[in-house]
Symmetry: C2
Subunit: 328 residues, 2 copies
């Protein structure tokens, strides 16, 4: 099958491309063409024997979406988005990329009569807004409190409507906070969730800006790729008209994260975490969901880790190339 | 204050314009300018002493929304929409008018710095999709099953987001099915809810295409106007970031409707209703909501009728100019 990844230069897109290239398949289904698209030409070092292409494209520009779907990929993974902070700071840009770009893609697909590709849409926990119950159920209402969340919720509505009309075959994935993100620290408000683990695992100091009792919803980058692989090949008939789901994950407090780090890397690693309260970050994080009941996604076959220790071990395996930490 | 009604040629827009013109005010607040806009120039016979204007405009056309808000109305009532059946039959037209038109209006308002009008947005019960609980609560999730419902739900998201950002001061109104609609029978699937009462009240036969146990959610045209008047002058601070509400109404079965007709107009009127089952209409109506708990709107001061008999009596008063039916 032909697979196109839009937003392929991001962390999840890159890992997905690498995984498809390495195996030449998705869940046993052979992939013979892989196209990588992003606003900058994705430079993904992959060893792929099928037909490959990579180019820069901005879906929200006139005519671009038509080009992206011109070769009628069987699976289109739409990960491209302006992230939360930027969509809040630049309202026009957020709506242009997150809403108009998504709609342009769906319209370009619909314009091909008889073409009904699997479309995997990256949604977000930001479609939900406080106040929350302790455990958010699958049928919880969407009350986004950011422009990013509103744009993602509108994208879900579009995906459902176009799927209901048989114009495409959509699956919407609400990703947990992906942890441990590889690479350098970034300035996202959620950055510390990865930083307090990644930096100590690499022998460096990390700042913890919130209290240990802050609870949130996590999965590994490996699970993030796994959701997409499953969404690409699953039977979508049981989804009916509701194509979007919160993905399974691990509900963990910062304290749980730290104890998992201790179990994997010892007291020395934990000692590298320095608590430095940041009221701004604490306030932002206080509005985030803490726990989900993802019965629907589990029933549909989506999987994630069972503990935070597993999430750390996956980082060791996938990013540090070792099963356990040296010296731990 | 200056009031602009978009979609002023429709039944509710016309009644609202007539009521404002007759009293020169909304809820005690003096209206000194009234502008009526629709895709055709609204011809509303009103006797209004303030400044008045009426013109044809299509919000989704480039530059039109800017013209509509150029004189900075204090209150903008946005009733313009492609209705459910047409939005389903003509997908592009529905998205253009219901989504693009609404967004163009909100963007044109946002483009005026320091301008923050009250914007009253007509939403719909179609934002909800079956399966339903017997009584749908205020926090029920939006799972529209028509393109119209999806477009209205996206309009709600936009209204919330623009309001949260302080670019306008939105109130979204999910109207019950308005009953008894004056005028000729129409071909809407919901038309019989009015027809089985209106036609007999006027001495004519009516067809009932469904069973007597079909239950639905109703309010009078007078209540519809009342919601808008209240939304125009209410304190919106208690709404917070969630600007859209299901309006109070009367949950009634077709049997309840018929018994209310009997109480008001006697057995002779009821005898004019002929049951002629229509499986297509029965199927459509089976997917509609039956009852709501509208605690939030009630707390915010919105009101409707308390019984179906009241709804019929309002038709007699407002459309037939009499308090009770002659001869009943």
């Amino acid at each position: 099958m032909k697979v196109t990844i839009i937003g392929a230069a991001g962390m999840i897109g890159r890992k997905l491309a690498e995984r498809i290239a390495a195996s030449g398949q998705i869940n046993g289904q052979s992939v013979d063409a892989l196209t990588l698209v992003d606003v900058v030409t994705p430079e993904v070092a992959i060893d792929f024997t099928g037909k490959r292409e990579a180019y820069a494209a901005d879906l929200a520009q006139a005519g671009i979406a038509s080009r992206v779907v011109a070769d009628k990929p069987d699976v289109i993974v739409h990960l491209a988005a302006i992230v939360s902070g930027e969509a809040e700071a630049d309202m026009a840009k957020g709506y242009r990329v997150n809403l108009d770009g998504t709609r342009a893609l769906l319209e370009a697909i619909a314009a091909h009569e008889g073409y009904c590709p699997r479309v995997i849409y990256a949604s977000s926990l930001a479609v939900f807004g406080a106040p929350f119950p302790d455990k958010i159920p699958d049928d919880y209402h969407l009350t986004p409190l950011t422009s990013y969340g509103a744009q993602k919720a509108m994208g879900e509505m579009l995906l459902n409507d176009y799927s209901r009309r048989g114009l495409l075959d959509g699956v919407g994935i609400r990703f947990p906070t992906i942890c441990i993100r590889p690479g350098k620290p970034n300035k996202a408000a959620s950055g510390f969730f990865s930083g307090i683990l990644r930096e100590p695992l690499n022998g460096q100091e990390a700042i913890l800006p919130v209290d240990r009792d802050v609870r949130h919803w996590f999965a590994s980058p490996r699970s993030a790729v796994g959701y997409i692989e499953h969404a690409a090949t699953m039977d979508t008939a049981p989804l009916g008209a509701q194509r979007c789901m919160t993905m399974p994950g691990v509900s963990a407090t910062v304290g749980d994260q730290i104890e998992a780090l201790r179990a994997v890397a010892g007291d020395g690693a934990v000692a590298l975490i320095r608590h430095e309260a940041d009221a701004t970050i604490a306030n932002i994080v206080a509005g985030w969901p803490r726990d989900f009941d993802t019965a629907r996604a589990l029933e549909m076959g989506f999987r994630a880790e069972n503990s935070f220790q597993e999430i750390i071990e996956i980082y060791l395996e996938d990013e540090m190339g070792q099963k356990t930490l040296n010296g731990a």
